[in-house]
Symmetry: D2
Subunit: 360 residues, 4 copies
């Protein structure tokens, strides 16, 4: 059973493992003629690298993107784009033990069963967050395509542990501030509180989770497909493929449960000759189709399962209870590093739908 490709028109296939030679991606369906250089992709990959802060992993892969196919004279040709980054900073020693002692919160145990024990377990293998480098390379190409249509994809951290942003930031604040602090938060003061919380967790050998908000601006109305390949269903699917995501909501989301219809319905009005809505509780999607308003969504990330505190697990050979202490180089909070990944999966999905709709 295959499961490493996403999309129907802009098809992203990823390969590679955390401790193998590389992490790579093949994009099939990128239209010909797009100007594309390694700088475009590198810029996005760099966003995913841990910021200079003591709260992040000391594994610091350089992650230099290399094109293997699909670009000729500085433009895409319409042939598959293959891109990859090499794995260099690999230390596989701590992983021999997890072969038999699955780490709580990681995929070790079900992966072992699914692959009948043949999976590459080093660093989580195929289930490592490192795989998201492939998502980001593909997302970089998607963003280049969206640029040409004036469509913007933004994401930012709105919650870390119990620290929540209260005021909704403007698009301008997100654009200018998110990458100015290590927490990828559009409010510098809140970012400092968040950083403290992460540092505390790290000091305690523990970790914390959080929430990322995403927005896609300027998607024309009517994009998406009804019924099964709806825009929100496909966005949700794409976002759930990011490791550690446990929930996705659009617009008012779970809060819609306690609203009335008259509160939640977004009334239409004319503005500058365009049909717009006065509110955006729908998050820009109705019936699986874009309304023309910003597509807004929130994604929750669980706390990093890798913690250095001792944890209870089982020895899958002896079938007895045991304890495990997970060494290795981990982030006490991966939420900030997930921001460009969220942007990427949103961009990939929107491009896929725009291709279906004939916009690209």
């Amino acid at each position: 059973m295959s499961s490493n490709s996403l999309g129907r028109n802009f098809v992203v296939t990823c390969f590679g493992e955390s401790h193998g030679r590389c992490v790579g991606v093949v994009i099939d369906g990128c239209p010909p003629g797009l100007e594309l250089s390694d700088v475009d992709v590198q810029r996005e990959l760099d966003k995913r690298r841990p910021a200079a802060s003591s709260i992040f992993t000391p594994r610091r892969e350089e992650d230099r993107i290399e094109f293997f196919s699909g670009v000729f004279k500085g433009r895409t040709t319409g042939a598959p784009l293959c891109m990859l980054v090499w794995n260099r900073e690999v230390d596989s020693r701590p992983y021999e033990k997890i072969r038999w002692m699955p780490r709580p919160g990681h995929a070790d145990y079900p992966a072992r069963i699914h692959y009948k024990g043949f999976n590459d377990y080093r660093g989580g293998g195929r289930f490592s967050g490192r795989l998201t480098a492939a998502y980001v390379m593909a997302g970089a190409v998607a963003k280049r395509l969206l640029e040409g249509l004036g469509i913007d994809v933004l994401a930012h951290v709105v919650q870390i542990s119990h620290i929540e942003m209260v005021e909704v930031p403007s698009v301008e604040e997100i654009r200018t501030l998110v990458y100015s602090n290590p927490m990828r938060c559009a409010d510098g003061d809140v970012a400092r509180l968040m950083e403290n919380v992460v540092q505390d967790a790290r000091d305690a050998g523990d970790s914390v989770g959080g929430v990322v908000e995403g927005r896609v601006l300027n998607v024309p109305p009517g994009v998406g497909q009804p019924i099964f390949d709806s825009l929100d269903a496909d966005l949700a699917k794409a976002l759930f493929t990011i490791p550690a995501v446990k929930g996705v909501e659009f617009g008012a989301g779970f809060k819609a449960a306690s609203l009335t219809g008259s509160q939640n319905n977004d009334a239409y009005t004319m503005k500058d000759g365009q049909v717009v809505t006065l509110t955006n509780n729908s998050g820009g999607v109705l019936g699986g189709l874009s309304t023309g308003m910003p597509i807004t969504f929130r994604v929750v990330f669980k706390p990093t399962p890798s913690i250095s505190k001792p944890q209870q697990t089982v020895d899958v050979r002896a079938l007895v209870d045991t304890d495990i202490e997970v060494k290795g180089r981990h982030d006490a909070c991966i939420v900030p590093r997930a921001v460009p990944v969220v942007e990427s999966m949103a961009a990939i999905t929107v491009v896929d739908h725009l291709l279906a709709a004939g916009f690209l």
Copy 2:
């Protein structure tokens, strides 16, 4: 662009419109030899019919399932199963006006653009909740397949408007109580409070939303696919294809944001010779694969967009603001009727993955 099929192995294709001749479904990939009668499907369809309560729509389709293909001598043959229900209780008169005046909260406006004005707008056409009759017919077949493996799919209402269940009901309570009250709630007392809230909204010409919890029991560990076709991503996608869904979360869901890793990680232990976890914050899915624990998720439904209060909209011909009052026969709360639909989409997705894993 096609978008009316779901799944890779158990492929569900639906057709029909709210006010057309019928709503139907073709299932491709159902294994041969399954005992299947119209009684099996009718039982599920009946769960979707509005309960005898003043809070539900007076449109009362009989919804008698008819097999058109794929069953021979009381068993599936392996050929496509086509099933449908006829539309009988159709009154299309109130819908001529929405052709030009999109109803807030409905898909009317983006659908018009997507289909260049050719969509069947009567009763929402292809975007009507009535389409979920097709989901339930397919779900009924999926449930029959799961039965043979001892896998159970349950769903129940846990919140309507601001009324939330506080105590988590047991599997036994869900099984026995959910279909004993019109709210599909496992606690009769809470159900009565919910019903009152819906009645109040109805009296006010308004509507309310809510949350459905789902559980899939006894899925063996290792089922699902890593990366893009993961079990949770596919479940989320399937659940988001239900009209009015605005959010999906697994296990601890959005609450995981404020937990630490040591709180959220589910420790492993041996029990009766099986590897189990002491908690189930993961909702039974790690790395896109089942852990063997119950798969648990929550789905939020926005309040029914059809309300009788006047609402602001635009006239898409004249491009001016106007008001609309939506007549027609609507539910002030569709959440209870969504319960078998949630069960169905979960069952369909799990069957699709079990087929991939060789269990069926």
Copy 3:
């Protein structure tokens, strides 16, 4: 495993059995706004009915098409089109015996194994030529779409048994003459010889095969996809899904083996401002893409496996050799009736590729 859908953009899903209630088809991806009535589809279905000739089966299904969904006010809506014909003239009695004694040349034996004995064996069930009624209904819609682009799909019989057309007929001859004789041959004199051969085979309790040539005119250059979803590969696949097809060739086909490159290459020249080729040995396809010249292909049909002569087979219960005489109502030659089926599969495939190329 599903296998009853064809296409990526214009997705044709068929259902039904030879002796079940009906044979039907769902088309997903038909663009909205196409004028479409039952007359358009009925005309094509009628071409598939046996001509008034003693050489054809006495099973004479009326095959009145019924729309079940997807058409509103005389136009397609963009929603799935479901169409079907009822089975009425069914006599299943002769088929009980083939349950255990597979007919040579039919799918009875491998079908029994594939479906573990649960397949509907009456009249060949899912493997009957009757299923091609679904192909023709879908083809009728595809042809309507092609009409709007000035693309014409033609097919005609060029060989029956050892009777071969020698002179290549003109497009005009094919258009006007093919449906004027029961053999669907563009030369009336040859048609009479063919009919005699079929009559002789019928009298001898035997059957004959033949070859159908197809042409698709006015496909613009560059349509198709390189590598795996090439236009010729997809046409070949679609044509091989017609029961009894054993070979497909494009342009010079198997004769190309004995040509030299300088003979076989089609030289380019300008004509009326267009790039054309002086010959068309490529059959209008190079590198999986259309050249702008007519797409030409030939399809061979084996002789109908249903013959009344006694044949050797095995009893699959007793696992001993035995003889079988196949009664039932069969065509001594199905090639003429395959002509609209060939046209349909070509039309469906070309529409699928035109949609991908943005022409529809």
Copy 4:
């Protein structure tokens, strides 16, 4: 529109260009636990290299396979297998001119239109026969999987220009003799005649075509899918994706047109407790399913379009007629080098179907 992936369960995605950095392939769906080394793949790649004969191209790529992912401790892990060969012996100078002057018989002209002029035209770019190195790498993995089931895939040249093998070789002759001569023909005497014909064409600045026969032995009965994803339709599609293929036939193929049903039907009999057929005119496929007999097919290759004789073409900028002489390093006959490619596409397709049938 994507088109660089083939298969539903064993999904082969290829990337790379003739004169780019590399030619590569990603296989998604290979079961875990298969012992696989570069030796297994190299052996197949070496079969594709031109034999030591003056009739073949002087471009002699070393084609050393490199694994990029999916293998751990000498076994497949179930994760995607990425493999590639580097392009080293590239001389792109002769190709600047074909940018504007499409070579007859090549994809230059439709590719230019399809890709709006952005395609990499050097060496035919994405349309080069060099791409088949990717097919062979994937085929090598498929063959390793088939080995474990005792399934053998054979191919051999049966016709070059007007030189045809008359006697059907035995399986043993094919196995032992095919790779003993540069023509990949199971009869050494015929091979010499073939080689002479190719040498003559080469001397004349011309080229020749031919026919390859393929056989797949020991496929169990019932493998394949009815209707659209039938075994023969999928094999045909896969074979038509090989550059220069213009026709595919199974069993009696085009000869079946002039047989009667009683001649063509393969009678069943018991042999050693197995159901077998006395003849194999069906080529081992009935109703899209394997019969258990050898799957036999023939594939015609047109003469190499690259010839050094002057040819008429057009200048696509000036839109005037012109002449072209194609320099470069080409094979006067690619049929022998296509033998392992035919084997590979057959192996890939059969593995895809065996996975669907639960055999792998």
